[in-house]
């Protein structure tokens, strides 16, 4: 489906501010920083997690561990695809038992990715707490899931798509709302 830009929601400055606020909120909420760990969901969630990790280091001087999670194998729609989606790497090098884990993704939408991520994490162990940080919350949840931290709440219509662009992948920091051509 071809799509066009409907609106530019954030530029690099706004994104930077929102990320800083996310980092501060995560720290405020988790007093024992040494118990804290971040897990980014492939692909953009990983880069956002990495930035938050850097910001926490700047703010408090602590290194919090960062894991990478691919949720493909836990998706609930695997049987619906004509071809299997590619599996990306999962790498969580620290024990998650008794840690405060913050799951990080770029956009939370139906909540199904987060459900898959939760299942995947519980296969690896039993964290003390599991929290969710989403850079953009675009509504339309189909599951009882709500982010603990969000960069921005962005009401959208279902036919639109929220595109979080990141320097690391797209060469540019910005958030766009896309809509199908012809609307």
């Amino acid at each position: 489906m071809e799509e066009k830009i409907k609106a530019k929601i954030m530029d690099d400055k706004k994104m930077k501010r929102a990320l800083q606020r996310l980092a501060i909120e995560i720290l405020e909420h988790n007093r024992e920083a040494e118990k804290l760990a971040l897990i980014g969901i492939q692909t953009r969630g990983v880069h956002i997690a990495r930035r938050i990790q850097g910001l926490v280091k700047e703010l408090e001087g602590v290194d919090i561990p960062l894991g990478i999670l691919d949720i493909t194998m836990f998706r609930d729609d695997l049987h619906m695809h004509e071809h299997q989606p590619a599996v990306k790497k999962t790498r969580i090098d620290f024990p998650i038992e008794d840690r405060d884990i913050v799951l990080i993704d770029d956009v939370v939408f139906t909540g199904r990715t987060i459900r898959a991520a939760m299942d995947s994490i519980f296969e690896l162990g039993r964290p003390a707490t599991l929290q969710l940080a989403a850079f953009i919350d675009r509504g339309h949840r189909e599951l009882p899931i709500c982010p603990d931290f969000k960069g921005k709440y962005l009401p959208t219509s279902r036919r639109e798509r929220v595109k979080v662009m990141l320097q690391e992948i797209d060469g540019k920091d910005q958030v766009l709302i896309m809509e199908p051509k012809g609307f």
Binding site: D70, T72, M73, V87, K88, E123, L124, I169
Partner: protein
Amino acid sequence: MKERTFRQDHLLGIEHLSVDDIETILETAEAFIEVSSRDVKKVPALKGKTVVNLFFENSTRTRSSFEIAAKRLSADLINFNSSVSSLKKGETLKDTVLTLEAMNPHIIVIRHSASGSPHYLTTFARSSIVNAGDGFHEHPTQALLDALTIQQRLKTLRGLKIAIVGDILHSRVARSNIILHQKLGNEIALIGPPSLVPVEFEKLGATVCYDMRGGVKNADVVMMLRVQAERGASNYFPSIREYRNRFAISRELFALASKRAILMHPGPINRDVEIETSMADSEQSVILQQVTNGIAVRMAVLYLLKGEVHETLN
């Protein structure tokens, strides 16, 4: 990052795969290596799917490797043992497979001594067919796990010299590896006695060589093949001792290979026939890593061929 999709219904041989398909399988396999390192080595990707292991030839490692792979993906697995089956009572291969298919499996993994038997199954079967070795033809998952091992150790799959030593004539492992490295553009040297390395193999784009020193020189990968006594390989050379003297890999010969070279063997190894014991257990030997990677590669193949029921050819 490039999004990949795998569009094959079956895995019959390396011959049918594009370079993109090969890379997709290897990337997926790398993701599955992590699953095998967990405490709980299981993911739900193939929950509710049934895999049938249909082995008409003896095999322990390939069969159990497919079995572990299927189980780590949460598939249900049936091992079909041809020696105690109705084949002994005169049932044909086609009837055996049709009977199994009446139980609605998703994927059938077959090993058979007749070259082309997996291809034959695709003409009437509704499941995805995986070739686990057919006669002297192909053994695609072995070539893929070899490629994964090479990539891990040498950090690349391009610009390499691959030396394959031994009974090329009867080896499906060699054939699959030759086709794979041909597709990737690597240089291939085939080494062994003329009776087991027919010059016709040059048509596949390989160099044929009857002398170990020349063949192994500067190789990045030295792949030893087993002397397959059960296939009558020993009729092709005067004695095991002579074979060993001319074609076994020793430390001295391996020293001629490139500095980073690795030593591979699909197993089971015949110590002190094709491979000196000290070489088999050396730092450069990746034989056990090949076995471990076999599980990840087979998980990737079973996952990518999810085994939806297809239209048959006729």
